[in-house]
């Protein structure tokens, strides 16, 4: 098999290969259109969902949720505090009984019961007893 064409360089050969493929048989347009119609029906069913980046919305949702919780907690604390203040009756100081006995009364009790450091009964099983004033 001989010919007299000059040997092409790489670029020329690539171009010739490309041109050779142009001569390949082509498909029937009617058949391709029929497939396209089929695909169009499928496209109507398989409509791609509009992809939205949802991450910022989740961040916003978390922030709003956090603020709402904080506001609710703070509000509850505030109202609880004011309710306690309102409910506390305003007693005069005179009406309250003296809680701590006066020094004189305490000394009287100590003298009547004897020395605090003394054990009343040495053989008693009680090794510790709360002081009673």
């Amino acid at each position: 098999m001989t010919h007299n064409f000059p040997v092409p360089d790489e670029a020329r050969l690539e171009h010739l290969i490309n041109r050779m493929f142009v001569k390949l048989p082509v498909p029937e347009i009617i058949r391709l259109n029929r497939i396209e119609e089929r695909l169009s029906r499928q496209l109507a069913i398989n409509r791609p969902k509009h992809r939205v980046n949802k991450i910022p919305w989740w961040v916003v949702l978390l922030l709003v949720g956090g603020f709402a919780t904080a506001a609710w907690w703070a509000g509850e604390r505030f109202f609880e505090h004011s309710a306690v203040e309102m409910e506390t009756p305003d007693h005069g100081e005179e009406s309250l009984p003296p809680v701590t006995p006066s020094r004189q009364e305490a000394e009287e009790v100590i003298q009547s019961e004897g020395s605090v450091d003394e054990f009343r009964e040495k053989d008693s099983p009680v090794i510790y007893q709360r002081e009673a004033y």
Partner: protein
Amino acid sequence: MQDQARELLDRYCKQADNAAFNSFYRAQSGKLWQFLRGRGCSEEGAYDLLAEAFLKFIQVVCKDLRAPVALLYRIAINLHIDQYRRDKASPVSTDNNSVEIHVVESSTAFNDERDYVQYLMKSLPQDEQNLLFMRYWTGLTHKEIAGILDMPEGTIRRQCAAIIKKLQQRWQEES
């Protein structure tokens, strides 16, 4: 070309623009049909595989828009392999249609260089013909072809260069 395909499919996926998908289909369907014929499909079989490949393609394309044409060809090749295995397992009909790339018969005289290139291509194995088809007709990059054929990019690059060199050598020997 790949950028244009990506742009069209981007519009389809993000704006649900069916017209953009149809443009992509019109640009790729003819070449894909030729590719399938080149791989040995019958004329009818190539139409069936084409339709099936596009149907599968529309289900997955929006997940990854980096190399849509390569994805389409990969789907088509996988479907063709599946079909080949099915046919081999249960042969129903025989299809003796020859691959259309082999149209030019060996002749003593060539009208022009294109005829001679076609004759040279005939001598190449099928996988090398497919490689040249994807590279020089479909316009896929080495990387995209590597993705389709599951091979390293460097291997594809070397194979393309080797095929071109082989053709040049034969050209020189026969001149």
